[in-house]
């Protein structure tokens, strides 16, 4: 079945049934998940997936209907339903669908070889990384499992304003989790690699090493006294800051005045060392796609430029409402959801400092390696989280720390960044280098 044609015909059906505008978002693909434990396959899941979401506007009123069932009856019923439900929602002049974009980037995001690789080879990658991790150190007592996953598929977006686009995308990943244990204390450590191309995955050796290093470094972590201290965020923990920013630059949160950044456009919100980019066009980027989830072309955007907030991110609705244009950031949680707003590849640009030097300059502080829970409150900018890491004394990493909280206000944090590392690494779509915050509050004993 030609799914692009199906999407187009569904959008037309909605118009015929009385919609003023209609959009069909059809997604079809395949997924594979392999879990290995103690040298043997523990589970394997494989399936094809498809679904379509119809968004219709009837004279400015919106409704949405979706189905995983592609029989004629089911599809006719959701088209009917979408049109009839739309008559019951509120009129909103900003309920609009985007027009086709003139220029659409074609990032390289589909690896046709992934599906050609034999199942046995994928299984052996998972087995290998687990084997390597278990052998690395005598304190690594057991495996929590290793896995290999891949997902690929095609997205079709057709709307009644002429948007008609399809693209293919693939993502594969593998990783391992182990437990370090000494007497009664256990510490898990995990690491993974994910990439759009199979040959861009990291080696099992590297993944095993980083998983083991994490577990060993944090084993036996204890709390410290409550105090104010300098905090160095490693690349994993630092992402927590980015997640908080993502919610605050969401155009919808901004016009609802539910963002702590709402009044800060073109104002400095962070240290000059911080530049943050959102870019959906990066070749091989895990967050890349040629168009967003409404069919608007993605592009590279500077969100924060040397500390100054330059823009918010929008989908078509929120942009119309705010008197601006969509930034190509419409995001769905799959075919069955209405487009919201989200980042593509979202990262803090590299700074100039060696990560080792960032630590060397700290007399007394925390090197945070993982956060747990909490995060940034997008409404008021308060940051609070559980934290784990290593204490830094006279420029050296020393004892493991755990069972503490880290808190602060995000403006203080962002303005207090006084060093940014040159070690930016993408292992997903959100990334940052190592960075240091002059002062935060640690809640401990």
């Amino acid at each position: 079945m030609d799914y692009k044609d199906l999407a187009a015909s569904l959008a037309k059906q909605c118009i015929k049934k009385g919609a003023s505008e209609a959009e069909a978002y059809l997604e079809e693909g395949e997924t594979l998940e392999i879990q290995v434990r103690n040298g043997d396959v523990e589970s394997m899941k494989q399936a094809g997936l498809k679904g379509v979401g119809l968004r219709v506007f009837v004279k400015g009123r919106m409704a949405f209907a979706e189905s995983s069932n592609f029989t004629e009856e089911a599809l006719a019923s959701i088209a009917d339903k979408a049109v009839s439900l739309a008559k019951q929602t509120s009129f909103d002049e900003f309920n609009q669908l985007p027009a086709p974009s003139e220029k659409i980037a074609q990032p390289d995001i589909y690896d046709p070889n992934i599906s050609k690789i034999a199942l046995d080879e994928k299984i052996s990658i998972a087995k290998k990384v687990e084997q390597l991790a278990l052998k690395k150190h005598e304190l690594i007592k057991r495996s929590l499992g290793a896995g290999f996953n891949n997902i690929e598929g095609t997205i079709h977006i057709v709307n009644s304003r002429g948007v008609s686009t399809s693209y293919k995308k693939s993502i594969c990943s593998f990783g391992v989790a182990v437990i370090a244990a000494e007497k009664d204390i256990m510490q898990p450590g995990y690491f993974y690699s994910s990439a759009s191309y199979f040959n861009l995955l990291k080696t099992p050796e590297e993944i095993a090493t980083r998983a083991v290093d994490f577990a060993l470094a944090l084993l036996g972590g204890k709390p410290v006294k409550s105090q104010e201290a300098t905090v160095v965020f490693d690349r994993r923990a630092g992402r927590g800051l980015l997640f908080g920013l993502i919610r605050a630059i969401n155009g919808e949160q901004v016009y609802q005045k539910a963002s702590f950044l709402a009044d800060y456009l073109n104002k400095p919100i962070a240290s000059e060392l911080i530049t943050i980019i959102d870019d959906g066009t990066m070749d091989k980027g895990i967050g890349s796609q040629p168009v967003d989830d409404e069919g608007v072309a993605t592009r590279k955007k500077v969100i924060v430029d040397k500390g100054v907030l330059k823009m918010f991110i929008y989908n078509t609705y929120s942009a119309a409402k705010s008197g601006t244009a969509s930034t190509g950031n419409a995001t769905r949680r799959g075919y069955s959801s209405i487009p919201g707003i989200g980042p593509t590849n979202f990262y803090m640009e590299n700074g100039a400092t060696e990560p080792a030097d960032i630590i060397k300059e700290v007399k007394n502080g925390l090197f945070i390696m993982a956060t747990q829970g909490g995060g940034v409150n997008p409404v008021n900018g308060n940051f609070s989280t559980g934290a784990m890491g290593l204490w830094i004394t006279e420029g050296k990493k020393t004892d493991p720390v755990a069972n503490i909280t880290l808190a602060g206000n995000i403006f203080d944090m962002l303005k207090g960044v006084d060093a940014v590392g040159n070690d930016l690494e993408f292992n997903g779509s959100i990334a940052c280098p190592t960075f240091r915050v002059k002062k935060m509050i640690i809640g401990g004993m």
Partner: protein
């Protein structure tokens, strides 16, 4: 309530198909066939769609194909879900969302291995293929198990329905949403925004396995959430109230949406006066009901039996040992009538049960699915759950709570010289290997000299589950439950409950005042 699930390799947040898989569970809309748009033949078509299922012979054939490579257990899981969701924001009905999700999941178990495949096509050829794919997990074994002929089994019913959701027209649902919106906004002029979400679904399941089990049921689920955002002189707070049960529409006679809206608004206004929370260790009194997230995170996940056979939880090999103070009794009960976590039988066909996890401080049992029960040589407890046909089941909680104790909430506060009183939480997470948990506080007040004083904002509470359990020194008699969504690589509908309790030490507040 997301659990850090370290043994599942996380896919990128942009794994769109993965999101499609999650999205499959958020389907909405009962086939509100009373809508006057529908013609008679459409109604029949929808009824057919709604009941897409498999005949006995088809199920038995698939069970057999799944075992052809030598598995010892096979299972067919058929799911039909139709749902409706209504969202109101900025005083407008933003959208109404209707969804259909149907499919078949086929599982094979051999030893400790699981093979799983699913199809959203009810075409027999495709299902046979899926059964073959699932069977590969057992490849290489010689013996083949013969599936037992399936026969229908009657199951207990803890979910009573008076007014079926299918009989409710959309307008009624829209009115509830509008009423809640008006109630939230009119509470106080400092309420800036109100967000109302209505969701209902009817989930039909047919479960059959090679041991001859064949069960089915259809359950309605309702979920209603009001969030209210207050704003005043640069300060703001989002208050929240959630309601949910497996129930018919009589739910809205039992729970008034206006009251829920006013509760959300009350919290939002009360917290405008919130000061910075202190940082450090101090006694914490946690109010009843949704405070039960503590139990869920700090302890519950650690007692799910998959962590036990993997030895990745601190509660492995501790049956019979003391894990908490004597006032602490923890129970997971899938039989509580109409509760959000009650589904009559789990997603493997095991009837729900009342499982005592900890009794007067002693660890008594775990929560099992069929696989963990088999591997640990214990009895299944009805905790094998899955988010949808796109997942195989794993041990999950249902309605998890700490039982009543001897004190009253007032006594507990009075007995606390200095500490923090937590009225409500927004969620939390746990690392079962270390016991490290956190939960995010929504509404809290300082306790000074045995009295609740000023509100404090935005603190994270952290601790280690076993340390907290060993330091609960007062438990009240006001057991209440809150409703939520638990995440463990896949979502599950749950409740969490507790009476008001005091944790005397070893719990830390992550405020900004050191």
């Amino acid at each position: 309530m997301a659990k850090k699930n370290l043994w599942q390799i996380p896919l990128s947040r942009r794994s769109f198909i993965g999101k499609g898989l999650k999205g499959g569970a958020l389907l909405i809309a009962t086939p509100s066939i009373m809508s006057d748009f529908f013609l008679m033949n459409r109604e029949r078509a929808i009824a057919e769609i709604a009941s897409a299922t498999l005949a006995k012979e088809e199920i038995e054939k698939l069970l057999k194909v799944a075992l052809a490579k030598g598995g010892e257990f096979s299972e067919i899981y058929v799911e039909n879900r139709q749902s409706t969701s209504i969202n109101m924001e900025e005083a407008k009905i933003k959208s109404v969302h209707y969804g259909i999700s149907q499919g078949v999941g086929i599982r094979v178990i051999k030893g400790n291995k699981t093979g799983y495949a699913y199809s959203d096509d009810f075409i027999f050829g495709k299902l046979e293929e899926a059964a073959k794919v699932a069977s590969y997990i057992a490849a290489g074994e010689m013996k083949t198990e013969e599936p037992i002929s399936i026969s229908k089994k009657k199951m207990p019913s803890y979910v009573k329905v008076q007014i079926p959701l299918e009989s409710i027209v959309e307008e009624k649902k829209l009115n509830l949403v509008r009423k809640a919106d008006a109630a939230a906004r009119s509470y106080d002029k400092r309420i800036l925004q109100a967000y109302i979400q209505y969701y209902d679904e009817i989930r039909g399941r047919v479960i059959a396995n090679s041991q001859g089990l064949w069960v089915e049921n259809k359950l309605p689920l309702l979920w209603f959430v009001v969030r209210a955002l207050s704003s005043h002189e640069g300060k703001n707070h989002m208050g929240r109230k959630r309601l949910s049960e497996h129930s018919g529409f009589e739910f809205f006679q039992k729970y008034k949406v206006e009251e829920a809206a006013q509760e959300a608004a009350r919290e939002a206004i009360a917290m405008l006066d919130a000061q910075e929370a202190p940082a450090g260790e101090m006694p914490v009194v946690i109010a009843n009901a949704w405070g039960g997230v503590l139990v869920h995170e700090a302890v519950g996940h650690g007692m799910e039996a998959d962590g036990v056979y993997r030895k990745s939880t601190i509660y492995a090999d501790k049956i019979g040992k003391k894990v908490a103070t004597p006032p602490v009794t923890l129970i997971d009960d899938g039989t509580l009538p109409n509760y959000r976590g009650t589904t009559d039988f789990d997603d493997e066909g095991t009837p729900g049960s009342r499982t005592v996890l900890v009794e007067k401080g002693i660890l008594k049992g775990y929560m099992h699915d069929l696989l963990s029960a088999k591997l640990l040589k214990m009895e299944p407890t009805g905790n094998g759950r899955r988010e949808s046909f796109r997942y195989y089941p794993i041990p999950r909680m249902t309605n998890t709570f700490m039982d009543n104790g001897p004190h009253t909430a007032e006594e507990i506060i009075k007995a606390t010289k200095k500490g923090i009183f937590v009225q409500s939480l927004s969620g939390g997470s746990v690392n079962p290997a270390t016991g490290q948990f956190n939960f995010d506080v929504r509404e809290a007040y300082m306790i000074e000299d045995g009295k609740k004083t000023y509100p404090v904002r935005d603190a994270t509470l952290i601790g280690r589950g076993f340390e907290v359990l060993e330091n609960i020194d007062m438990v009240a008699n006001d057991l209440g439950f809150g409703v939520g969504i638990c995440g463990k690589g896949q979502a599950a509908e749950v409740t969490a409950g507790q009476p008001t309790i005091r944790i005397a030490r070893n719990i830390k507040v992550g405020g900004t005042r050191a």
